[in-house]
Amino acid sequence: MTSLIRTGLPAYVMVAGLAFLALLPLLAEWVDNIFLIDLFMRLMILSIAAVGLNLILGYGGMVSFGHAAYLVIGAYAVGIPAYYDIYDGFLQFAIAIFASAAVALVTGAIALRTKGVYFIMITMAFAQMVYFTFVSIEEYGADDGLTINMRSEFAGLLDIEDNFTLYYFVLVSLIAVLGLVYRIVHSRFGMVISGAKGNERRMQAVGFPTYRYRLVCYVISGAICGYAGALLGNFTNFITPEMGDWVHSGELIFMVVLGGAGSLFGPVLGTAVFILLEEYLSRLTQYWHFPFGAMLILVVIFTRGGINGMFRWLGMKSGIGGRS
């Protein structure tokens, strides 16, 4: 079980968390608060995006400041066909994945020539390009966005027009993406990615063309976010280019770091804290961004490695344990 310990939190917490997510719709009905389903659906969709980002950010050490762009691409991959009355979900999701992967391939090929801050900035610049592209297409609503009249259809196999069904579709997607990322990071490919994060020069010296591996990793990460975008489009029924604004890319990074970059469940945890805190604070005061921002600053200054890191830090202080 060493691999699960590496994911940050004990396995039973994760299992309990997933069980909670699985039972939530029943709970929501029981307390007669359908809004909860929407809240957790959004949480899970953004979790998928965060898990995708974590693949390059946490495991690969590549800080992409433009991953919200893939959410937008995925969302429009549902929205644009729907605009032409094409609701075939298989087609829409395939477009979402392949279009995101294609954009990631082209932009990643250029961005990965740079390092550090330059990488952060160039990924952001590419995301801005995507954003402005959708802003300038009048046909698809430009700034005002696009309404999706009907959710994706899966040849009668699945009716996600029903919120319950969509909820479980998203949950299964989340579990599948987590499983996929788990396999990837423990595979030979994943070892190369973490090795290149630790010491790229050394990896080249022992014989790895690291650039190619990083690029493929970047493409996979973009495709996962594109998939999340397609879910998001279905969920909201209304999409705007604003979803790809750099601020949202920043939020995605924060979700990953908050939960602990480079751990499997960390991004899910981070997203949950982010979304629930946002929800809670925004009910307390309309000025909730202030405590939220302040908390962000404090987390960054006083902990390294997000909530997991904070637990570890507290644990070490009281001498309970933690890794030496």
């Binding site: 800080v63 160039i122 402005f132 000025y287 202030f290 962000l296 960054v300 200054i301």
Partner: protein, 307 residues
């Protein structure tokens, strides 16, 4: 081609360029010397505009408002450095990005709380609120000329300061080799605080100059800060000269692209497709420029000499 319109758009491009330079100058120094990525630089731009708007209301004078708001913004920058930024120098860039992202949220909310959600206009005195005649019956606002002159004056002042004073020497040395400055026995903490405060004042000045045209509004810095980052990366991080050249380049390309790209494209393609692709392309032009610079000259156009 309408040359009057062309001249106007050139001037507008230069005006955007000097505003970007005011923002980028502080950003590039803070980045170059302290290796600190400050996303919240745009918030200081916004705060400058709000300080100025309030002071203009109180004093009934635009000039007085600006003069009073400048030290106020510098003070705010100094406080930000002292309270938040200083604790982050030893962290990595990702932490800088996240923490200053948090600062943006705080500033935007604070403005909402203090000044309310609607923007604040800054009235101009009559002399500044007029137009001068250009050729072909076109006119150009006096205030925009003032912006251009102010920006160029600041650029000249910064150039002299960085090139010919002791502080400037330290700043140049710091941008290329930080350990050397520390080895010289300079109180690096003070130098950092000073640079940060001056950078804040410059950003604030940019906000004060744009606000009479666009109003001071929440989040006004969040889009332009990204463009300012594009500028310093094209120019070479830590280089004032690079920031100036890149700011002008970006200002002109952006403005001219938006006004004339459709006409340019019509030479190559049908007017219909030119009209649909021109807005997207012109909005992307500066990002394409940056991507090209990074791909072929990763250190920017004017990297500080030794790093």
């Amino acid at each position: 081609m309408d040359w009057g319109l062309f001249t106007i758009q050139m001037l507008n491009g230069v005006q955007l360029g000097v505003l970007l330079f005011l923002l980028a100058a502080g950003l590039t120094l803070v980045f170059g010397i302290m290796d600190f990525v400050n996303l919240a630089h745009g918030s200081l731009y916004m705060m400058g505009a709000y300080f100025c708007a309030t002071l203009v209301q109180l004093t009934d004078s635009f000039v007085l408002g600006v003069i009073l708001a400048l030290p106020l913004t510098a003070l705010l920058g100094w406080l930000v450095e002292l309270i938040v930024v200083r604790a982050l120098y030893t962290h990595d860039h990702l932490d800088h990005v996240l923490a200053t992202f948090g600062l943006i949220l705080c500033f935007d909310t604070a403005v909402d709380f203090i000044w309310g959600p609607t923007g604040m206009a800054i009235p101009l005195p009559e002399i500044l609120d007029s137009h001068i005649d250009l050729m072909g019956g076109h006119t150009f606002p006096v205030f925009r000329i003032l912006i251009i002159c102010t920006g160029l004056a600041v650029a000249g002042f910064l150039y002299v300061m960085v090139a010919h004073t002791r502080i400037g020497m330290l700043i140049r040395a710091g941008a290329s080799n930080r350990t050397m400055v520390m080895a010289l026995g300079v109180d690096i903490g003070k130098l950092f605080a000073l640079v940060f405060a001056v950078g804040a004042a410059l950003a604030g000045l940019a906000g004060m100059l744009i606000a009479p045209i666009t109003e001071a509004s929440i989040g006004m810095g969040n889009e332009i800060i990204i463009v300012a980052f594009v500028v310093i990366i094209i120019g070479g991080i830590g280089s004032i000269k690079g920031a100036f050249v890149a700011a002008m380049l970006v200002g002109l390309i952006d403005t001219m692209g938006r006004s004339f790209l459709d006409q340019l494209l019509k030479i190559f393609m049908s007017s219909e497709s030119a009209e649909t692709s021109a807005p997207a392309l012109s909005a992307m032009a500066i990002y394409i420029l940056m991507a090209m610079v990074l791909a072929f000259r990763p250190q920017g156009l004017f990297p500080p000499k030794v790093r």
